[in-house]
Symmetry: C2
Subunit: 180 residues, 2 copies
DNA sequence: TTGAAAACTGGCCGATCGGTCAGGATGATG
DNA sequence: CATCATCCTGACCGATCGGCCAGTTTTCAA
């Protein structure tokens, strides 16, 4: 069984793009870099993806879908249950999508201007509200603080094992959002 | 008393560069943008500063000097006193240099590769150790988490008053690093 | 007033960027 | 074998970037 050429090439482009975005940042990676790493021409990248932002969208897509699911699930819960659920599941996402989140980090200022990522941004804000557990400004700010801290912890993936990462996120989020 | 033309122009370039870096990010701002905003030509910017990174260095310099001073002062203290001192003074820096830190944020991955910022990076790492209060990996990671959270809180300056900012940073740093 | 140093600038350069296009290779289908 | 859609590519484009330089304007002390 041979995977269709289309999917194989697309997948390889996305894989290499993620790796490069992670290493050097979205802005510092050219379409030529991605093409060379994927073993094809720059024109091929643009044949499969409608511009550089489309490549980025493909890189972020799985994590974005997972986030949308998280938010949808949290919406069905009572506020304090939603907070607990969000803390746990976001920690899991941080472990699983460390590389993607590392990419995302640099893009936060830029991404808000791109309409193709409006859903991702909106879901991020909704998740922040669930993590805050209330609509008090201080709690919302603390949730933002927690999210930024966690995003930063995704830098240099491979520096921490999955378990170390899980433990760090869990402790930090609980201290910030559920102090005793 | 007229300020020497040299200093007046240099200062205006740095001022406008900071504003632009803050708004659009270092990478997205061209020397031409800075020159236009400062009311001079691009060649003038390059007459005063030896390349674009030199402009960045001038923007970061006051905060960098303050950080160096913080670290030097903390070094004279006992570990737990140093932690308390660092928390307080870093909070004050976050309030005072919000704009500069906002610029710095995007550059963290890039800046580590530039030798002209080696001192800044080294001081940042030393500060992280003081904030951690010990050399335990988990404590160091939590301090890193706290720093990243605080850096994130410097985004969108003007969204929070100085007092709100101070309060947020103080609460967050204490919860993370001094839980009871 | 004058002349040299300092401050400044327009114009140009090579490099690189994202993106387009016409056409060549490939592979499934009849 | 012929056909045709899919996949892919080299060559090229306009724009923009950081940086350089020869030469002009401004400043200021003698």
């Amino acid at each position: 069984m041979t995977t269709p050429a289309r999917e194989r090439t697309r997948h390889e482009i996305v894989r290499q793009a993620m790796r490069l975005f992670q290493d050097r940042g979205y802005g510092a990676v050219s379409l030529q870099d991605i093409a060379s790493a994927a073993g094809c021409s720059k024109a091929t990248v643009l044949y499969h993806f409608n511009g550089k932002p489309a490549v980025l969208a493909a890189v972020l897509e799985p994590a974005g879908a997972d986030l949308a699911e998280l938010v949808a699930a949290a919406e069905q819960l009572a506020p304090d249950e939603a907070q607990e659920y969000t803390i746990g599941r976001f920690t899991e996402m941080a472990v699983h999508y460390r590389g993607v989140i590392d990419v995302l980090q640099e893009l936060i200022p830029v991404i808000e201007e791109m309409p193709e990522f409006a859903q991702l941004v909106a879901d991020g804000i909704r998740m922040q509200r669930f993590m805050a557990g209330s609509d008090e400004p201080l709690e919302l700010d603390l949730a933002g603080f927690a999210i930024n801290g966690l995003l930063g912890a995704c830098r240099r993936p491979g520096e921490r094992t999955d378990d170390e990462m899980r433990r760090l996120c869990d402790i930090a989020l609980r201290r910030l959002l559920r102090p005793n």
